[in-house]
């Protein structure tokens, strides 16, 4: 596999109407020195010396995640090796009111693991034990720092694998996947992280260790795990996960089809889905994305193609063979002028190489770019692609399109050169307008990268105040003091107030200063 979602820099300006610094979302350095000193003392008492980082230079190596244009140096970094150590760190934070941010491998693309200048960055990368592979139960029990692909590697000898496959799967961690509800090219058929995490050991923002779910499904009580998965570290930190293992498919076949236009490729996609076929993946790239991939990886995609589709089918051999023939026929009927079929792993890797390296490859044709992650109903694809093309034409900002066509998850790459005056701002406007198109078509501002710090400002475009207030009820139940990754996901800091419904006498200083809403 080539480049991944998480390894390249997405340089560019701050998205959204308000930069995080202005909202206070990342805290102020040296904000509360006494509390920080107390937490540092408490942490040093329970963690080995090499698990606590406070040196200014070393701290800077943690200043961003995969969304590198936001950078904040954390006040302290800790690398616990056990649940007990991690819980002790969180307890110290809770006791002194110090915010903490969890980080796995730091590959996230929405700044979900962007540190707080006044807080502790809790890194789970040293919690890396695969505790159990249980093929008879179709489960694995792993630490949060275990790499996604390592679960599959450990399970493969037993005939199983871990299905969610974000492009960064070689380096991203299960804990980070759980926090972000990570997807991947194959979630069209297999679902997202939330469909594959059955249980977790979880540290609440008070530092309590609780069990959510387990080996068996349908644990009695509220499905707190369902709320935690995808909550981007704002409800606490998972310290162990029970994940579902999926039987390795008997047969996998991959097709690369070249089309004259994205309209043709999109029509082929609709026809495949409309025929009742559920492919493991359907990916599309447009001409500009193909050009970039060619330049970077010489993937040998069909010359002159206005769009390519990568369609992968997996499952029982007879079904795959039958449906594959149907897919080939459908592609031809919709104007595919070149078809290439992979039947073994090497050929498959070659076809995927261009697609998987697309983000990084764009660096070959543009010095800077913004990756978007909007979602639209699949049937809106032709209209939205045309609208993006019009946006691009009218603004002069180039947009390369790479996306999961099967589930309508677009990854437009908005290209610009930051050295050119005003180019960043123009790109940012196009990027925002694309999100507006997604929302307008009944879609979402993020399909798999998360809201993080990057899209928090867009949440009110997708959700009403009442929706966001209701989500905030969950936040307040878990984290009434607002110390778990504050400033992420939600646009405005909100204070929780007492339960039930008591009002404090004097307004909170943040409310008085107009920086937060009481809730």
């Amino acid at each position: 596999m080539g480049g991944t979602h998480g390894t390249e820099t997405t340089a560019g300006p701050v998205l959204g109407p308000v930069s995080p610094e202005e909202t206070g979302a990342t805290g102020e350095a040296g904000g509360n020195p006494e509390a920080m000193a107390a937490v540092t003392r408490a942490v040093r008492a329970v963690l080995p010396a090499n698990a606590v980082v406070s040196d200014r230079i070393e701290l800077r190596t943690y200043e961003c995640d995969g969304l590198a244009h936001y950078r904040v140096t954390p006040a302290l970094v800790v690398l616990p090796q056990t649940t007990e150590q991690l819980a002790a760190v969180v307890r110290a934070c809770a006791e002194h009111g110090v915010p903490f941010v969890a980080r796995g491998s730091g590959t996230g693309l929405s700044g979900g693991a962007l540190p707080r200048a006044d807080g502790v960055l809790v890194v789970t990368s040293r919690m890396r034990t695969i505790h159990e592979i249980r093929p008879a139960d179709q489960r694995a029990v792993v630490d949060p720092g275990v790499l996604n692909l390592d679960v599959t590697h450990a399970a493969t000898p037993t005939g199983y694998y871990y299905a969610p496959d974000p492009s960064s799967q070689q380096i991203c961690s299960i804990g980070g996947n759980l926090a972000e509800n990570s997807g991947g090219a194959h979630c069209l058929k297999y679902g997202f992280t939330t469909n594959h995490v059955l249980g977790a050991e979880f540290v609440t923002p008070q530092g309590e260790v609780v069990q959510l779910g387990g080996l068996a499904p349908d644990a009695p009580g509220y499905d707190l795990l369902g709320a935690v998965v995808g909550s981007e570290g704002t409800l606490g930190i998972a310290t162990r996960a029970v994940v579902k293992l999926t039987r390795l498919p008997q047969e996998v076949r991959t097709l690369l089809a070249g089309f004259a236009s994205t309209d043709d490729a999109g029509a082929a996609t609709s026809a495949i889905i409309g025929a009742g076929i559920v492919p493991a993946a359907i990916e599309m790239m447009d001409a500009l994305a193909i050009e970039a991939a060619e330049a970077a990886t010489h993937c040998d995609y069909p010359a002159g193609a206005g769009a390519v589709l990568v369609v992968e089918l997996d499952g029982p051999a007879v079904e795959v063979e039958h449906e594959f023939a149907q897919v080939e026929r459908t592609c031809r009927e919709h104007g595919a002028f070149a078809l290439r079929v992979a039947t073994d792993a090497t050929e498959r890797a070659l076809i995927w190489k261009g697609r998987k390296s697309a983000f990084a490859a764009v660096g070959r044709i543009s010095p800077d770019y913004i990756v978007q992650d909007g979602v639209i109903p699949r049937t809106a694809l032709p209209g939205v692609l045309r609208a993006i093309a019009e946006l691009s034409a009218s603004s002069g900002v180039r947009v390369a399109n790479v996306f999961h066509a099967g589930d309508g998850n677009l990854h437009p790459l908005v290209l610009f050169d930051d050295a050119v005056e005003g180019a960043g701002k123009a790109a940012e406007e196009v990027s925002g307008a694309i999100l507006d198109l997604c929302i307008g078509s009944g879609g979402s501002i993020t399909g798999e990268h998360g809201v993080g710090i990057d899209k928090a400002a867009y949440m009110p475009k997708m959700f009403s105040d009442e929706d966001l207030d209701t989500m905030q009820l969950v936040r307040c139940a878990f984290d009434p003091d607002g110390i778990a990754n504050p400033g992420k996901v939600f646009p405005t800091p909100r204070l929780c107030g007492e339960v039930p419904g008591k009002k404090r006498g004097a307004p909170h200083p943040l409310v008085a200063a107009g920086k937060a809403e009481a809730f």
Partner: protein
């Protein structure tokens, strides 16, 4: 404390101006033996919001109801002043066939949803395990059937939800696209919450194509170890079962049934393979056996005790064996049926079984399920049994669940006491 004793008239008039369809409750409206005073039948999400605001203003305890098919599940509520009947919210709002999604109101019978989407060759892969069950009731109880082995349960299918909170605020989460990670997934929280967090009024689901062909292969077993061996044979093979059901009626021999779906050519081959896996006594049929997607208590007389046992797959034999021997030791009998391929079994004990006998079975079975990484819940039981058993059993993270309940329903007016830990 109910506000109704003193101010029933005022509450009624507030509710009437909220939705216009408010009536005195009859005995038929009782919620697991608890008699409410009023029934409101709002016809839209805004009306549900108005009703809940009126209920909040008058301090009424509220129990949401679909068609009332599972209203005795869980504990009886501590109080129930008002039943919010959602049967007038019965529309399939949108079926976007090209996007494989459907949006339906909470009071819509699942069967109506299935009829609508079947016209486009699609299905909502949630089994209607109880005749007449609605979208909302299915979500509230997290009901599921055999299809869970192939496609999962409500939590894997619900992609958007509209709820009305106890204070009458309308909130939405998720959306109309399958792939979406914006904001907290409130849908997960309301699934299986028994109406204690909010009233679901609308739901959006992902759909699946209807298979062109289906076949069921059934094989008998007489010992629990044999059942587990057969189930493991199937799930470890490459036959991609849509369902793996185990049926073990009290006293009789058991059977393992495997549902295979797909295109004709593929199903034919996998049927042959499955027959080989299940041994010489295995037989194939185009239709599922009797009792498919029905709980084992469905045909019992009276109100049997209904159990739900969950466990890691490798615990199947122990759960089967323990259930039967515990029932025999207690002088009663248990019918067992469920998704052996997913680690879920349902048990039925006779309506006239002695409460102490049921309690003994619950205790032993719960211990085995817990050791196997799962739990045992008493979904339903006659009043004397409900009084004698721990319905929900020990629940980890209960304190956190209580905090969630306190935030959503600080006055404890939504189905109070029906859920785990008295929530």
């Amino acid at each position: 404390m109910t506000a109704l004793g003193t101010d029933l008239g005022a509450a009624r008039s507030a509710l009437t101006s909220a939705c216009g369809d408010v009536a005195d409750a009859t005995e038929a409206d009782a919620v697991d033996g608890v008699q409410p005073a009023l029934v409101a039948r709002p016809a839209s999400t805004p009306e549900v919001a108005e009703v809940l605001r009126a209920a909040a203003a008058h301090g009424l305890a509220v129990v949401p109801r679909g068609r009332g098919t599972k209203l005795t599940w869980g504990r009886p509520p501590e109080r129930a002043d008002l039943v919010v009947d959602l049967s007038r919210l019965a529309a399939v709002l949108d079926h976007a066939a090209g996007d494989l999604i459907v949006e339906a109101q909470a009071g819509t019978p699942l069967a109506d949803v299935q009829r609508t989407v079947a016209a486009a060759g699609q299905r909502l892969a949630l089994d209607g395990t109880v005749e007449g069950a609605t979208v909302g009731g299915t979500l509230a109880t997290n009901a599921s059937g055999p299809s869970r082995v192939g496609v999962g349960t409500a939590r894997d299918l619900l992609i958007g939800v509209t709820v009305v909170r106890a204070d009458g605020v309308v909130a939405r989460a998720g959306g109309r696209v399958v792939k979406n990670v914006a904001g907290y997934d409130l849908g997960k929280l309301v699934i299986g919450s028994f109406g204690t967090l909010a009233v679901v009024t609308e739901a959006v689901f992902r759909l699946h194509p209807l298979p062109a062909a289906r076949r069921v292969v059934t094989a008998p077993f007489d010992r629990p170890e044999e059942a587990q061996r057969l189930v493991q044979q199937v799930v470890q093979a490459q036959v991609v079962p849509s369902a793996v059901e185990v049926d073990w009626p009290a006293g009789g021999p058991g059977s393992v049934s495997v549902l295979l779906e797909g295109i004709e050519a593929g199903v034919e081959g996998r049927t042959a393979t499955t027959r080989q896996l299940l041994g010489p006594d295995a037989a194939a049929s185009p239709d599922p056996p009797a009792g498919w997607a029905r709980y084992p208590w469905a045909d019992g007389p009276g109100r049997p005790t209904a159990l739900k046992a969950t466990f890691a797959l490798s615990g199947l034999a122990r759960v089967l064996a323990t259930a039967r021997s515990a029932a025999a030791d207690a002088g009663t009998a248990i019918d067992l049926r469920g998704s052996g391929g997913a680690g879920v079994l349902y048990g039925a004990l006779p309506a006239d079984a002695d409460a102490a006998a049921v309690a003994a079975v619950v205790e032993r079975l719960r211990a085995v399920c817990t050791r196997a990484g799962g739990a045992l819940v008493v979904l339903d039981a006659p009043p004397q049994v409900e009084a004698a058993v721990d319905t929900w059993g020990p629940v980890p993270a209960l304190d956190l669940m209580r905090r969630v309940k306190e935030r959503f329903d600080p006055e404890r007016r939504l189905a109070p006491g029906r859920f785990v830990g008295g929530l």
